[in-house]
């Protein structure tokens, strides 16, 4: 989305324009919902609704580019996820039994990679990560957030986020035997 288009969309959304909200929701809801599901949110749809309602409540205060908006939405989603986890008490990560419908954002390269690795393996690898590692990897690669934005969202220093990312990727690799990946 171009900067100008995003600016118009944001201004319309601030005024409460329904079409603008449709655009924002269709753009961001799949990735946010994917993030919530992959993070083991107790009720991902419910947390998604809470997240977007907070976005709607506070959007009049937001000023910035599209990347900043995306990072802000993911930060809110992360905070709502923590709240939901606290409410539901801690439980082992359980990815949804229903296979999620793939989002529209997946490009050909991503689809090809997923076809090679397999969805089940990806889900299993994610489930074996620690909460912090999973959050950092998902926010970095699904939310397309910078190290600094992720650090702000998870309340850690950028150095700690880099460390979590490195360890998370190393753990993922253990789930992906080289012969399968590089085949």
């Amino acid at each position: 989305m171009s900067g100008e288009r995003f600016g118009r969309l944001l201004a319309a959304a601030k005024e409460g324009d329904e079409r603008a909200w449709e655009g924002i929701f269709s753009e961001l809801a799949p990735v946010v919902l994917g993030y919530l599901r992959a993070s083991g949110a107790p009720d991902p749809d419910d947390v998604l609704g809470e997240t977007f309602l907070q976005v709607a409540r506070d959007i009049h205060r937001f000023e910035g580019p599209e990347e900043g908006f995306r990072a802000w939405v993911f930060t809110l989603a992360h905070h709502r996820l923590i709240d939901a986890r606290r409410r539901a008490a801690r439980r082992p990560v359980e990815l949804s039994a229903d296979p999620p419908e793939p989002g529209e954002r997946a490009d050909d390269a991503a689809e090809a990679a997923l076809a090679r690795i397999g969805l089940e393996r990806v889900q299993r690898a994610l489930a074996d990560l620690s909460d912090d590692q999973r959050a950092v990897l998902l926010l970095r690669f699904v939310g397309d957030m910078s190290i600094e934005d992720v650090a702000k969202a998870v309340g850690k220093r950028p150095g700690a986020v880099k460390q979590l990312q490195r360890r998370g990727l190393a753990a993922l690799k253990r789930h992906l035997p080289r012969e399968e990946v590089t085949r």
Binding site: G34, R37, L48, V55
Partner: protein, 241 residues
């Protein structure tokens, strides 16, 4: 090896996995959720915007009307501070402290008599510092009477009489000293150093041949002359006033 220390094969693995993650994670929300949530979002955003505008306008209105309110508060604060002073004085009086005369007068003027305060004429001098109280004499009394609230002619006359009395006293005092009857200074301890006479040389009060009373007008009754007996001059030699 790459700049972050990973081998090319490892980098490929990571890139492949993150690509797979991008494809695997996104999940489209159900149509029901979208259909119910989007109108709610727009309504929430609208009401939030209206609320923010209202809050902003209320804040500016508050700022406008804040000035008189703060001025009123200032006046009230000053009034309270002023009211505390008499209350504190009254409290001191109840505790048995002698309140200064002006403060007592102020209470008297509004018809309030403070307890535990000295009454009558001694009351008047109560507020003055100790050493002056006994030595000030009639002159200060007269002045106070003149300055007092009921500055009547009687008070003025009284003050004048006290003043005159004071002057007479002073004369007698001088005389007594002159004849050596009033030994306020011990012998050999002159108030002024030797050679520093108050009066210039040749202008002594008791200059030879210059009597204060004119000749033939003696203050003392006949036979009781104040002049010392022959051979006792008023001023000892070398002791000019």
């Amino acid at each position: 090896m790459s700049s972050n220390g990973a081998f090319p094969n490892e980098m490929n693995d990571v890139a492949l996995f993150t690509d797979a993650l991008r494809a695997a994670v996104p999940a489209r929300p159900t149509r029901e959720l979208t259909a119910t949530l989007v109108p709610r979002l727009s309504a929430t955003a609208r009401s939030a915007a209206i609320e923010a505008e209202t809050r902003a306008s209320r804040r500016t209105q508050g700022l406008r009307s804040g000035r008189p309110r703060s001025r009123r508060a200032l006046v009230v604060r000053v009034a309270l501070a002023v009211a505390v002073i008499p209350l504190a004085l009254a409290g001191l009086a109840f505790a048995g402290v002698t309140v200064p005369t002006p403060a007592r007068d102020a209470f008297d003027s509004v018809g309030i008599t403070l307890p535990n305060q000295p009454s009558g004429e001694s009351n008047r001098g109560a507020g003055a510092p100790g050493p002056h109280r006994s030595t000030q004499g009639g002159a200060s009394e007269g002045t106070r009477a003149t300055n007092g609230k009921g500055s009547s002619t009687a008070a003025h006359e009284h003050a004048r009489a006290q003043h005159e009395k004071a002057r007479g006293k002073a004369l007698g005092h001088e005389r007594g000293r002159a004849i050596g009857l009033n030994g306020s200074t011990p012998p050999g301890q002159a108030k002024t150093p030797p050679g520093q006479s108050k009066a210039p040389p040749g202008r002594s009060d008791s200059a030879p041949g210059q009597s204060r009373t004119p000749p033939g007008q003696s203050k003392s009754p006949p036979g009781q002359s104040e002049t010392p007996p022959p051979g006792q001059s008023q001023a000892p030699p070398g002791h000019s006033k």
